[in-house]
């Protein structure tokens, strides 16, 4: 039993050069994933802070402020997703759509799940005061949003992973088997930690900047301690990546590995270690204002992300290179065959095989007329015996009718004109009028 599907590609040229597409997909995806990280991390943090806020009112206020950022970041996350999705569709048409189909039930669930997550986020944010005396319900709404935001990335991860391994496509039976493939779950963990790290960095900057009205919005808190708190989160999450990162690397199927890919990952790792170093400084002795150290952390973590995304792209190309060559060959073969068949059809000599050899008139009858005309009973049109008696000895009249049917029977549907060759008209008329 063969296990490697080799589909044909679409016979239309790519609208942009592969090198341009590669740059586009890395840059555009980075923009998208940063906001997705902030959306997911923000939603989770909001719930965590609101839970803690049951004992410390100041934290409830902080949770509310974080919630306000989630609703903005989510809109940017979704709109920035269009660009990379477009480039994916174009560059990896066969692979991406195949993975989509194989996980189709989950894939289409993205629509209601994310819609619900967005509406829950709005409800959570705008009902803060109104549900102040019903914290349980309010927390449940926030938790619902957070859970939905945590679930949806798995659908994407299952797809972008499955698309790289055509040899696995025949083994998949729905979304759950796709999620279980290596290395979706380690990557998911990697993504979750990255979300927390990036959100920590973002909120440190958001609350820690001079322009944030901390006295008015968060009485009792100060910018420096807020910055330190969130940068500690960034530190902790990034430090945990030192374990999860290698886990992702070692569970990655070997088919896409290459030295350039590893070089990118290593560069990302080095920048992450640099970020940890500076983050540690901020955790122990935070700066008095947002300044050089924060900028350094942002650049280092941003650089880490950039190298990881580039490395991922190199891996992707490596994993698909062999299969793409097979697809290209199959596509070219098919194109040749399509053309040859078109030429034969145009010349009037198609190589048709029919089920049973029969006289020409009978063949035409069985493939054209029989759908509506039965032998002795009314089907859609009148039966053959009736037609034969109407046109006895008048094959020309029958042919004329078939070419341009009139409307003689109001209780029957109208017969469409039938287009045949002159020889075929004559053959089928003779065949029909042979009927006793």
């Amino acid at each position: 039993m063969p296990t490697l599907p080799i589909p044909h590609d679409l016979p239309l040229p790519l609208p942009l050069a592969p090198a341009t597409a590669a740059v586009a997909i890395v840059v555009l995806f980075l923009l998208h994933i940063v906001f997705v990280n902030l959306m997911v991390g923000g939603a989770v943090l909001t719930v965590a802070l609101e839970l803690a806020g049951r004992r410390d009112r100041a934290l409830d206020g902080l949770a509310r402020e974080v919630a306000a950022t989630v609703t903005v970041n989510k809109s940017l996350a979704v709109v920035l997703g269009v660009g990379p999705l477009l480039v994916m569709n174009v560059l990896y048409t066969l692979y991406f759509y195949s993975a989509n189909a194989l996980t189709g039930s989950a894939w289409i669930m993205i629509v209601p799940l994310v819609t619900a997550a967005f509406l829950a986020s709005y409800a959570h944010k705008y009902s803060w005061e109104r549900l102040a005396d019903a914290k349980g319900l309010h927390l449940a709404i926030g938790a619902l949003a957070a859970l939905l935001f945590l679930a949806v990335p798995l659908i994407f991860l299952a797809n972008v992973n499955l698309m790289l391994f055509p040899e696995r496509w025949p083994t998949v039976r729905g979304f759950l088997t796709a999620v279980a493939l290596p290395n979706v779950l380690p990557r998911y963990l990697h993504f979750l930690l990255a979300s927390l790290a990036l959100t920590g960095l973002f909120l440190a900057g958001y609350f820690g900047r001079a322009g944030y009205p901390v006295e008015e919005r968060l009485p009792g808190m100060d910018r420096t301690s807020l910055r330190r708190r969130f940068l500690s989160l960034a530190f902790g999450a990034t430090a945990a990546q030192l374990v999860v990162g290698p886990l992702v690397l070692f569970t990655l199927p070997a088919s896409g590995m290459s030295w350039p890919m590893l070089a990118n990952v290593l560069a990302g790792l080095l920048l992450a270690i640099g970020a940890l170093w500076v983050l540690w400084g901020e955790v122990v002795t935070p700066a008095t204002a947002l300044g050089g150290r924060f900028a350094a952390i942002a650049v280092l973590l941003g650089g880490t992300a950039a190298f990881m995304v580039s490395g991922r792209h190199i891996y992707r190309e490596g994993a698909l290179a062999g299969h793409r060559a097979l697809v290209a060959a199959a596509t070219e073969d098919l194109a040749g065959e399509v053309l040859a068949a078109q030429m034969r059809a145009a010349a009037g000599t198609p190589r048709l095989k029919e089920e049973a050899a029969a006289a020409p008139g009978e063949r035409v009858f069985k493939s054209v007329c029989m759908g509506c005309h039965a032998r002795t009973t009314r089907l859609v049109g009148p039966p053959v015996v009736e037609i034969a008696s109407l046109y006895r000895g008048n094959p020309d009249g029958l042919v004329a009718w078939v070419k341009k049917p009139g409307r003689r029977r109001p209780d029957y549907p109208e017969m469409p004109p039938v287009v045949l060759s002159e020889a075929q008209y004559r053959a089928v008329a003779d065949y029909l009028l042979e009927t006793p």
Partner: protein, 467 residues
């Protein structure tokens, strides 16, 4: 042929797209493209008249639109894409290769539109002192919204009539398709009317504590609808004139389905009557708002939504048998492939099939694979648009005669003009007929690749390899 076959055997694959797409069109016509200029106008009028209450009402209307468009609107937009990728990847893959830059431009405009609507909504109260600037933001947002519709309409028009593209194959020739401007001339005022009818429905709710505000707002909303309605009607006529003639023949089934195609005249009258309802209620709201209670004010939006949904169904159906006119049939098979498929058969070249050669013992299974490949983009076995109903309507209750059904499969495109020609060999038509006549006794519904996975037969022999 080259993708795992996603299939919903009860609801049918078309309904998946239809539900998502119609919701999206309703939201983005009534609440984005149409609503943003209306809200901006209301804000501007309130500024001129120093009408603080009207300003607050405009803000609340905007907030409703903001919440719905940034959640349901945005996600159903992506949802059309996701669902089309599942149901007809060959078609959407082809369209994206032709129109990539159009979609890319659309995306840039979307980003700007999202930023603009966030700024417009979230700074409404803060910018009370600089209303002039804020109104300008609203105007810019309105333009951006319209541009997103303008771009996508080019692609929809192309699917119905690709103009010179089959010959020229350039992006410019694709963009310059004959249906583009007429469809845009129709959709623009249609969106404006939809927004106005939504405003008519919401004003009684948003202004329930201020009867005088309610009257002022109803007047403005009614006047807005009256201004745009004639343009919508004119646009509709212009659009109808641009539709390829042969497609108009599909209109009765497009509008009413096969079962009710003879009711075409009645349904057209109903649609005209609904337009009349919009006209009358809007007119009353503009001239005598006190005569318009909430229950009446809500009828135009319902009529608008019904008209929008109907239009989208008709537009999608009359294009059949093509999904991209003169290039690709609705089954995802390019017209250019038909000569080869008639010779070799569909199964010889399909990637995902368990059968390559039809033998005496595997006919029904072969027929099922042909059905999956050639028919399931539009049909189910026994669900919505089920082939069992089609056969029953033609030949009465089962059992059906296999040879008769086979003959019908080979000729039905001559009778049902919206059906593509059978894309396989004579033998495959026979196998498909056997599968179809076996359906009444078949035990389960057909499962798609999303749950059943895919099966692979040995690949076809390469030409010249002695196969």
């Amino acid at each position: 042929m080259d993708f795992p076959i996603f299939h919903l055997d009860f609801l049918g694959n078309r309904l998946l797209i239809a539900v998502i797409a119609v919701v999206h069109v309703m939201v983005n016509h009534a609440m984005a493209v149409g609503a943003m200029p209306l809200v901006t106008l209301l804000e501007w009028v309130a500024l001129r008249r120093r009408d603080a209450a009207l300003d607050r009402l405009a803000y609340r209307f905007l907030t409703v639109c903001f919440i719905v468009t940034t959640s349901l609107g945005a996600l159903t937009g992506v949802g059309i894409w996701l669902s089309v990728s599942l149901v007809n990847p060959a078609a959407i893959g082809s369209l994206i290769r032709v129109f990539f830059w159009a979609w890319f431009a659309e995306w840039i405009v979307f980003v700007l539109e999202v930023l603009a609507i966030m700024v417009y909504t979230l700074t409404w109260r803060r910018m009370a002192a600089r209303k002039g600037v804020h109104v300008a933001v609203g105007a810019a947002l309105s333009l951006l919204s319209w541009v997103t519709m303008a771009i996508i309409t080019a692609i929809l028009g192309f699917m119905m009539d690709p103009g010179n593209w089959p010959v020229a194959r350039s992006f410019a020739s694709a963009l310059a398709n004959p249906i583009y401007i007429p469809q845009l001339a129709f959709r623009t005022p249609l969106a404006m009317v939809a927004a106005g009818t939504l405003a008519l429905a919401l004003v009684p709710l948003l202004a329930r504590r201020d009867p005088d505000l309610r009257r002022r707002a109803l007047r403005l909303s009614g006047g807005w609808v009256l201004g745009w309605l004639p343009l919508a009607v004119a646009g509709a006529l212009l659009y109808r004139a641009a539709i390829p003639q042969w497609m108009l023949a599909n209109a009765p089934v497009a509008l009413a389905t096969q079962a009710f195609a003879s009711w075409y005249g009645t349904l057209v009258a109903v649609l005209l009557a609904m337009t009349g309802v919009v006209l009358v209620v809007a007119g009353l709201a503009a001239a005598r708002p006190a005569w318009v209670p909430a229950a009446v004010a809500v009828t135009p939006i319902l009529a608008s939504l019904a008209l929008l949904g109907t239009f989208e169904r008709v537009r999608e159906f009359i294009r059949k048998p093509f999904v991209i006119a003169s290039y690709m049939h609705a089954n995802g098979i390019p017209e250019a492939h038909l000569p080869l498929l008639r010779e070799d058969g569909l199964l010889a070249h399909a990637t995902y099939t368990s059968v390559r050669e039809i033998t005496a013992t595997n006919r029904v299974v072969a027929g099922r694979e042909v059905f999956l490949l050639a028919c399931t983009r539009c049909h189910t076995t026994r669900g919505v648009n089920g082939v069992d109903k089609r056969l029953q309507a033609l030949y009465g209750p089962p059992p059906w005669d296999r040879d008769t059904v086979k003959a019908y499969l080979l000729t039905m495109h001559n009778v049902r003009r919206y059906m593509p020609p059978f894309p396989g060999s004579d033998e495959e038509a026979g196998a498909l007929a056997e599968f179809l006549v076996s359906l009444p006794s078949a035990p389960q519904r057909l499962e798609g690749a999303q749950s059943a996975g895919v099966r692979l037969a040995p690949p076809p022999a390469r030409p010249g390899a002695g196969g």
